[in-house]
């Protein structure tokens, strides 16, 4: 079971990295609008009605 002494701190490091990444994402505004990007996927196909 001694491996736990290594694996748990390692897991926490990963957690720390994930939280840091998330903080960066929030700070750069990626979470400011949670709705329209989802819809824009559908709508972008429709922006060129003059196509054919």
């Amino acid at each position: 079971m001694n491996i736990l002494y290594l694996l748990i701190p390692l897991g926490l490091l990963l957690l720390g990295a994930a939280v840091a990444a998330f903080f960066w994402a929030v700070g750069s505004g990626q979470f400011d609008d949670l709705e329209s990007p989802g819809m824009s996927v559908i709508m972008d196909d429709d922006t060129k009605p003059k196509g054919e």
């Binding site: 002494y5 926490l12 957690l15 979470f31 400011d32 609008d33």
Partner: protein, 777 residues
Amino acid sequence: MCCLGCKAVAEFIEASGLHAFYEFRSQPDTDLNLTPEEAGWSHFDDADLLGRYVSQQGDIAETSVDIGGMYCSACVWLLDNAMQQQSGIASIDVNPAVRRAVIRWNITDLKFSELLQAIARIGFKPSPVGIGQGVDAKTGEYRLALKRLIVAAAAGMQVMMFAVALYAGDYFGIDANIERFLRVISLLVTLPIVLYAARPFFLGAWRGLRARSPGMDLPVSIAIIVAFVASTFATWTNSGEVYFDSVAMFVLFLSTTRFLEMRARHRSTDHATALAQLLPDTAIRIVDGTATKVALDRLRINDTISILPGDVIPIDGEVLTGTLEVDESMLSGESLPVRRQQSDTVFAGAIVRSGNATVRVTQTGASTSLAEIGRMLERARADRPPIAMLADRIAAKFVLAVLTIAACAGIFWYWFDASRAFEVVLATLVVTCPCALALATPAALAAAASRLARNGFLLVRSRILEVLSQPTTIVFDKTGTLTEGRPVVLQTTLLAGASDATAVLRIAAALETVSEHVLARAFAEHYDANTPQPMDVTVVAGAGVTASLDGRRYRIGKANYVAELSQATLLDDDDDPRWTKVYLGDDNEILARFSIGDELRQDAAKAISELQQAGFTPIIASGDRESAVRNIATKLGIDTWHAGLTPADKLQLLARLQQSGEAVVMVGDGINDAPVLAAADASIALDSGTALARASADAVSLGRYLGTINTAIHIAQKTRRIIRQNITWAIIYNATAIPLAVTGVLMPWMAAIGMSLSSLIVVFNALRIQRMPEAQS
């Protein structure tokens, strides 16, 4: 449809045959009541104004623009796409939550004014934000809350995982070193939760203590601190139990509800811009006979400005020359346009229906009566009576009781067996971990909010459900709330010579197409495209219209004016003051009389009588004339009504009602209602009303029906029942668990299972609200 963006999108969808979109949308539609405007923006290209709003690096300029009239994703899509098609745009970043766009573009290709114009052309109302303001307060608050939430969630899950290992260890046995290690790790991971994620609770508790009115935050903070300190102590001394998992889950659940509430609040409140966007950004100033367009903040008192039909009056002023018909309904509740001529006062925010005038500026900016209403609103909001939510009341008592019991048990055990005293106190505190209790209300409220949103009733602050769940007084505004807020032909009376009401209405409608008068809009719905176009038209302001249809001369308008054409004497047998009357005549005789008034909302009578049956007392408080209000009150069977009220009068009325100890619900739509909406115990704004009213209310009712209020009451009552059940259950659970804990019988892992089960039951019970059948309306 909520906005111009949607309108444009809808037209586009219609044109491309993508009707399926409507099956997927999330809200019922509302009335669209916006007019695109083609404002001139050239003054923004002046070097000093440009410097205020735009930061430049070489050719690339960057600006932040508040986008008025943007409500949803469709608007974002529209703005995004329309802007991408403009040449010179490098990037556009739209945030619908705060209605702001950050645009980077090449300023040599596209002038700032042209950029603004392009936004205005799609129908939005751009107002540039000064540079250096950085991230606005709302976005800042949102991002911080989101970070706290993610810390609570990520760390919380870890702690929970270690806790499961420890519980299992209690049961199956665990190596002492590993147990110690897991405890220390739990402590380390809980540390950021307590120090970072739970900070708002501590700050709130501290504020409450200083203001001598401790709220929910105080017991919450005590629980967090006691459990954390005790667990830390247990870890340090390697004795007793640790309850880091309880701390983590408690913080996570509470942060989640707070976060959701904050999002709802941000979405609907927008005070500063709501007030400012009522006014145009520019005005036409006249200096020595030459007119120039200037920014509104450059107007000074005693400047002369020119006012045109369709304008929103930007300042308080005195009419120098000319006559205006102005619509002050949003400011005063007066349902029909009023005439303002020389030396009359006009108010900022009023809409000019017809006429031209020059106006001397008497008050600008913060000293206008519109701004005064804004300040009244802020004061009203601050003075608002606190409503103790059922859950808060119970929770506060509950926490107090738990603390007392724990203290008593501690004293008893200290005397009986001092070595176990600490452990028992902890067991008591933790077995009562208020998870179920903390979830009881938020879960039910969240379910109710999503259920109501399906019915077109958006909750901003959930306290309104508490107020609506019991019969109380509901104060209604009249114009625009009980009524549609626009003129309608209520009655057509045929006079000598005419025989067909429909034909007469068609003629009237055709004639009125050339008029800009507000009453002319009443005829629009009777317009028939097959009627010949009016020829040879003369419009006499303040009198009526003369025109030829099929070779016959017609006049529509005031009695005298119409009678003049045929020289017929008018036998006016109708002097009912409630309606405004419009006559139609040809060169032989007077054909018909139209009674025009503000029509009741379609389901107003039904909604009001249902309210009365449910035990609610409806009251009308209107700024309109007495006759008009009395008429509506009689029609709806409302006994108590007040007419001719200013916003201040309305506040006084509200205070009087509140003094009698009742909770008062206000329903309104106008700017003049905003202070009362903010001061009432609970308030509902109608979506067709002003942004300011919407921003001041606890809930917004979409759509054209008052019946949604009845649905809301229905669901509020159901929600109250569910909350009661949940709290009862939580208390029963605790009542059984506490004695076991106090006597030292309960094992921690049993407490953990019981706690989770009771929380699950509470959540599933709350979800029943969502499955309530649709109300018929």
